[in-house]
Amino acid sequence: MAQDRPTASELLIAIADFLREEAAPALDRSDPRLGFQMRVAVNSLAILEREWRLAPEADSRELMRLRKLLGRDGTLAELTRELARQLRSGERDETDAELMAHLEATTNDKIAIANPKWK
């Protein structure tokens, strides 16, 4: 069932803007510790907004890469677990170019959601 607008993204942005611009400054005046916590919450809402927009495609790209890299089928969670196992056991290491390309792409997609300003 399609929801009416605002979309989830639009609603999250509206909530975050309200909390940042109106609620947080009022809290800063009455209780700076709560003002700080509110900014943490606003930051998390921004993460959710980016996740809602970007994660579906990022997840499907990650799953395709993992199937190819590991040469088998499975869910994202199963294949990630298998990759982690192979990395701990030393079956794969940083000399594997396809592995490194996969980790780089996955990490780039994660940071684009969690903190795009990180450098």
Partner: protein, 341 residues
């Protein structure tokens, strides 16, 4: 102030008055008592004790008496009496650290606690790195950190209370154990830990005092630079280069990414000052190993903090949100791995 807060402050004030009267040579009046920021289980309070007209500016470090359901202390974190002993030895050896004065007793009702002299300065990285009053200090801090690290590592270990001994191999194993306790596989951390495991430095012949959390955010500084190194609860015996790697981890540059030494200078600034103050010559590969290790360590800490909330042991939005910072260290680790080739 809430009823609960008022009650706690009153308990702390009464306990401090009793302890200060015993240790400062006469009946003490406690003034200006206030809670500094910090966790629920490990508290820091600022206060003045006035004894016979003399004002002592002091800090209380305290683990409140255990209440039901409180989290158990971290396995890698010292208890307050041991931290007191480490601080006393470090201060005596000339390390820029707060001077500890006395421990409180069971009858004071404060839990495990000790009192130290208050030192001027701030710990807030963002202010130290950007605000005008600290412009001159910014030129000095990287070298000061090198000098202070050398002093810490020169503390006579015979003067220290019994401390855990943790070498590189133990630390890699501990991070793997921590990862195993999360139900979430972490390929980048596994890759980095395997890389570290294959290249781990030889155990130190003579383990030295390692601060264990030597970084920007954990020292006080004023217009003249660093005034005191804080947060000694991670102190242990081991490889001193661990401290020099940790202070360079990118997360501790707070945005000043081109200045690895805590956001204030180059690795060479740090190492040169370290050597001039009596520290050993730094092997860049060993320092790089510990910087990479520190980067995984911070990433795993981010996840562990989030899991404290997710497991239900503490309810905290702030802790939960730290979990999403782990990926910052994954970005940095992939970069460090490239530079290592």
């Amino acid at each position: 102030m809430t009823f609960h807060g008022g009650t706690e402050a009153e308990t702390v004030a009464a306990g401090l008055a009793a302890a200060a009267s015993r240790h400062l040579g006469g009946p003490a009046t406690i003034e200006g008592l206030r809670r500094e920021s910090g966790g629920a289980s490990r508290q820091t309070w600022s206060f003045d004790a006035v004894v016979a007209g003399e004002r002592h500016e002091l800090i209380l470090r305290r683990d409140p008496p255990t209440a039901g359901g409180r989290e158990k202390a971290s396995a890698t974190s010292l208890d307050r009496p041991t931290e007191f002993g480490v601080l006393r030895a470090a201060f005596k050896a000339g390390v820029r650290a707060p001077e500890v004065l006395f421990q409180t007793g069971p009858s004071d009702g404060l839990g495990e606690a000790f009192v130290m002299r208050r030192v001027g300065g701030i710990a807030i990285a963002r202010k130290l790195l950007r605000d005008p009053p600290y412009a001159e200090a910014r030129q000095k801090i990287a070298s000061q950190l090198g000098e202070i690290a050398a002093r810490i590592h020169a503390v006579d270990t015979a003067q220290l209370p019994p401390l855990p001994h943790r070498e590189a191999a133990d630390q890699v194993a501990a991070l793997r154990t921590a990862l195993d306790s999360l139900d979430q596989p972490q390929p980048v951390f596994e890759l980095a830990l395997s890389w570290l495991d294959r290249r781990r430095p030889a155990p130190t012949g003579r383990p030295l005092l390692v601060h264990g959390d030597f970084r920007t955010g954990n020292y006080l500084a004023d217009e003249t630079g660093v005034t005191a190194i804080l947060d000694w609860e991670g102190a242990h015996l081991g490889d001193p280069i661990e401290d020099l790697g940790w202070v360079c981890v990118k997360s501790w540059r707070f945005g000043s990414v081109d200045k690895p030494a805590g956001g204030f200078g180059s690795r060479e600034d740090l190492w040169t000052a370290y050597r001039r103050a009596g520290g050993t010559e730094i092997d860049p590969a060993r320092a790089h190993w510990w910087e990479m290790f520190g980067t995984v360590r911070w990433g795993v800490i981010c996840l562990t903090q989030a899991w404290r909330h997710l497991s239900g042991s503490v309810k905290s939005m702030e802790l939960a949100s730290i979990g999403r910072r782990a990926v910052e260290t994954e970005v940095d680790l992939l970069q460090l791995l490239k530079e290592a080739h």
